[in-house]
Point group: C2
Chain length 353, copies 2
């Protein structure tokens, strides 16, 4: 039997392969990306930015949200997410002296990000593009470039480029505060352990095959995970997945939680998990069916769940937390007969202005 370039033509094969590839991508970054990261860190430090703005869309925007927390935690600088439409739709030209503007994109091709970066540079910002496509338009628009080392991403649903973004951002910011990335060394092994629970996730997917809506919640560093999990579920399984921080959930959306709506929670070791913990009894009171990805204690208290290995450094938890959700999105889509590699209405590179 002839085989094509594709390793398999099974539905979801591209996405499945890229989910599995993640620990190898992380190892590649740790082995061969550090000198590039150190050089960019030094270039940024030389300019002493006082404020950090991040700009991205879709999955990359969740990496930006993760970086926003890290900038405040590791560098002690205020950080914000830029709205591209401020520049592209309304033509604003804010004064960006002393600002580091970081654009994050898998393809580096989205027009609104390129414009935002070019305008930011003209307005005095130090600009850094982080893409998986060296030489992209976003790279050309920025003064500094950092590549993701994730290899070509072929699945429409971004997976390996997302965790490559998280790791690259972590290593860059860790370096800027004088770190050497030592905390990240065990990540490929930890990621491999999490991938090993894939069959259990496939079984869990059956539980959500007929769900029309889902709520995903996490707090702090796990909030980007909740957002990204919801996006994966929307774009592959077409389920109405809504992400809320544990705090925002209590400011309104909690009203719609009942026994009819599955709730997925991310509750890892560390301060974010501890801050989410008081929300869990509220969910149970509302009769919710709770699936947990997180510590083994949190999984034991939930209806069902996937326990993460102990000892994942808190700041790096988002890399391993997202894996079971990527697998869940894939398996729900397959169970529904939908090909997650060919979601209706989407292309790999999204062009928005």
């Amino acid at each position: 039997m002839a085989t094509s370039d594709d390793s398999s033509t099974a539905i979801g094969a591209l996405m499945a392969a890229e989910v599995d590839e993640q620990p190898a991508v992380w190892a590649e970054i740790l082995d061969n990306g550090m000198s590039e990261i150190a050089a960019i860190a030094a270039a940024i430090e030389a300019r002493q930015p006082r404020f950090v703005m991040l700009v991205a869309r879709g999955t990359s925007d969740h990496a930006a949200l993760y970086a926003k927390y890290l900038v405040e935690m590791l560098l002690g600088l205020p950080a914000g997410l830029a709205s591209p439409s401020s520049v592209t739709v309304y033509g604003t030209r804010p004064d960006l002296r002393d600002v580091l503007l970081v654009g994050i994109s898998q393809s580096g091709g989205s027009t609104d990000l390129v414009t935002t970066m070019a305008v930011g540079r003209a307005q005095g910002a130090l600009t850094l593009a982080i893409t998986n496509s060296p030489g992209s338009a976003l790279d050309a628009a920025a003064e500094l470039n950092l590549s993701l080392h994730a290899g070509t991403e072929r699945a429409v649903a971004a997976t390996k480029s997302y965790t490559a973004q998280l790791l690259t951002l972590y290593l860059l910011l860790d370096r800027m505060r004088g770190g050497d990335g030592a905390e990240a060394r065990e990540l490929p092994a930890l990621g491999g352990e999490v991938l090993g629970a894939g069959l259990r996730v496939r079984d869990l997917a059956a539980r959500y095959r007929f769900a029309q809506r889902l709520v995903v919640t996490g707090r702090g560093l796990s909030y980007p995970t909740a957002r990204e999990a919801a996006l994966k579920l929307m774009e592959t399984s077409y389920v109405a997945a809504q992400a809320f921080s544990g705090a925002d959930l209590l400011h309104g959306p909690m009203a719609m939680v009942d026994a009819q709506i599955p709730v997925l929670i991310v509750l890892s070791e560390g301060a974010g998990g501890r801050a989410l913990a008081p929300v869990v009894p509220r969910l149970h009171e509302a009769g919710a069916d709770v699936m947990c990805v997180g510590t083994s204690q949190a999984v034991a208290a939930a209806t069902v769940g996937i326990a993460l290995p102990a000892g994942v450094p808190e700041l790096l938890s988002p890399l391993v937390e997202i894996i079971p959700f990527q697998q869940l999105a894939l398996h729900i889509a397959v169970a529904r007969g939908v090909d997650p590699d060919a979601p209706r209405g989407l292309q790999k590179v999204t062009r928005t202005v």
Copy 2:
């Protein structure tokens, strides 16, 4: 027949009364709030902030998002939304010199906002609390205070305090760039016109009585409207309403749009509406049922809709755009036999840490 202090005990009476009260609240701000606003504008200008951070939760966070656009458009300063958990969960202490930190809250009582404001002040930020509760804990934590003049808000679902926040923020920023609020003068009359379409909205509500999920989309200044519309629908009608900017919708969530899911769009006069326009044919191609609140041309091109009066100044559109959605949330809830004044699982003041 004896009447109680309540004007009515019908379900949703509190929310209905406060929705209707909005033009009077706006007139009160325009008539009696301008000198307080001018004084705060002068106090801020004297300190020449270079960056603006906004912090809020729930409905107030949508007012903060509106203000983020306005800060960039009217003042030419970069602006970002702060994540309270950065301070309250992770204990970050960023360097906030030259930062204006604005806390927005109806009650002024949410612990995480109070802590964020107190820490921001200690870290060198100029702090401003905007609340509807003079003397609140948030006011006490901030150097500058601005009150909303909205009167006591009794309904759990915030309505009049939201548009009072929008108007107050607009007038403050307009004043800082030398304006006198003249563009806002016609707002109470325009708001009254929009309220007049309430019966048509009630009829439209029947269309969504059995909907389990909805998508709401807008671009630029109308994106906060989409977010707030979705929150009202979630907290009163328990429908899974998801808001996306028109651009983010194309980065993934578009995949789940089909004939089974109602899409509500906000398409007003101005650049935001023009930027959203290309998304509309994509929605029709996907077979979506599109309800439009916006220009009469946009309504004519949609499946159903509510036309807004012509001549609403672009920057102030969010005040009038939200009214039909507030009415829609109310009427869907009532049609479902749910009291929007007593949503399950919610209190008026949400305490999160």
